[in-house]
Symmetry: C2
Subunit: 224 residues, 2 copies
């Protein structure tokens, strides 16, 4: 088993993140690479969801993964070992989010010519990552059932910027006061067009739907 590559990300020195992000998105478009920015709270199940999803994408899309974390590299190792999908670890050095330049530093270490889709697992945080365009084509986030259906009320920007909301850990719905209808209502209050897919990374529920969404998205992006 190869060790995963660990990249120490430096803070961006550029003033205009939006310009950097737009430039990065154009460049990825030219190279035929779709970048997904996946965000969530700590412990919502991003890594387990990715592992399940990558298994279902085998033979359908060529995928690479960038795992951002403040310090540890357990996630990238776990993903590469479980799926064989090339994964690198980005260390943000205490930073609570990634911006476009930091994302580019990560992408410089990814085999883009062998990738249709790059999934960026952002730092576990519902606040700061929402404020920075990474250059991704789409933003997605995972809200897990134990966190509660009221999170779109409390973290408005995160839910405004996300095109896709995966509601994870549906297997523990009976043990929590989580109202899926209210969740849908609150998410759509922030972004009426957001796609919502209930999933359970542990049992596999809904993962096919997420994988299909990704395949369709990448196809549309390449044809645009």
């Amino acid at each position: 088993m190869d060790k995963v590559k660990v990249i120490e990300i430096k803070k961006s020195v550029f003033a205009d993140n939006d310009e950097d992000a737009a430039r990065l998105r154009s460049e990825l478009k030219r190279r035929g690479v779709y970048l997904l920015n996946l965000m969530s709270s700590p412990g919502s199940g991003k890594t387990t969801t990715l592992i399940q999803t990558l298994k279902r994408l085998e033979g359908r899309l060529r995928v690479s993964v960038m795992e951002a974390d403040i310090d540890s590299d357990v996630d990238a190792i776990k993903i590469q070992e479980a799926t064989g999908v090339p994964s690198i670890q980005l260390h943000t050095g205490g930073m609570c989010h990634l911006d476009a330049e930091m994302t580019r530093q990560g992408l410089d270490n990814v085999a883009l010519s062998d990738s249709d889709l790059v999934i960026l697992e952002n730092v576990g945080n519902l606040v700061c990552p929402a404020e920075f365009d990474t250059g991704a084509v789409r933003n997605a986030m995972i809200l897990s059932v134990p966190e509660g259906h009221d999170k779109p009320l409390k973290y408005p920007l995160m839910f405004s910027v996300c095109d896709l909301v995966l509601v994870n850990k549906t297997d523990v719905m009976p043990y929590f006061d989580f109202d899926m209808d209210k969740c849908r209502e609150y998410v759509h209050m922030r972004n009426p067009k957001a796609v919502i897919i209930p999933i359970c990374a542990k049992t596999g529920e809904g993962i096919d739907a997420f994988a299909d969404w990704l395949v369709q998205e990448v196809k549309n992006w390449k044809q645009q």
Copy 2:
């Protein structure tokens, strides 16, 4: 029922947060007020834990609560309605943390002469709040079982700065792969002196122990 006061917090213009924090702590000491900074991920159960704890502190300590949130004011209303404890809501205007000056702006709206203990519920975020000394006597955090026992590996600073870790939602332990021994080991790897109390805000387990810890802490602080 009085509506709760909502304070729009301005970003600090002072350069040295550590100096501001030390000054605020001295001032609170002089006035006999103990400030606790309570941090956690979104959805870990801070508000429910507070409600249970405040009920057990009735007649033992005079408490006030400051609820920091990016936007909503549901938490302060919920606490005041459930417990009668005076609560104010701090709106951070998108900011992901509170610093000492922002905390002071909140405290200006609290009846300090009627308070032995002020509990500050920080923004739900395991990254940024850990970087800023608020002027509190102690930092505490809630880690909930569904988030996983590996969080001290991934959010090192948060666990380094916390004197107390409440491990919440112990009632759902059977449904998650959460190892309490490993959790203790990882927490103590970051801070060997951290006190760890397993609790369940829903069933009340461990809340007495947390309340007793607070009573003892405030007593020690006043006698120092």
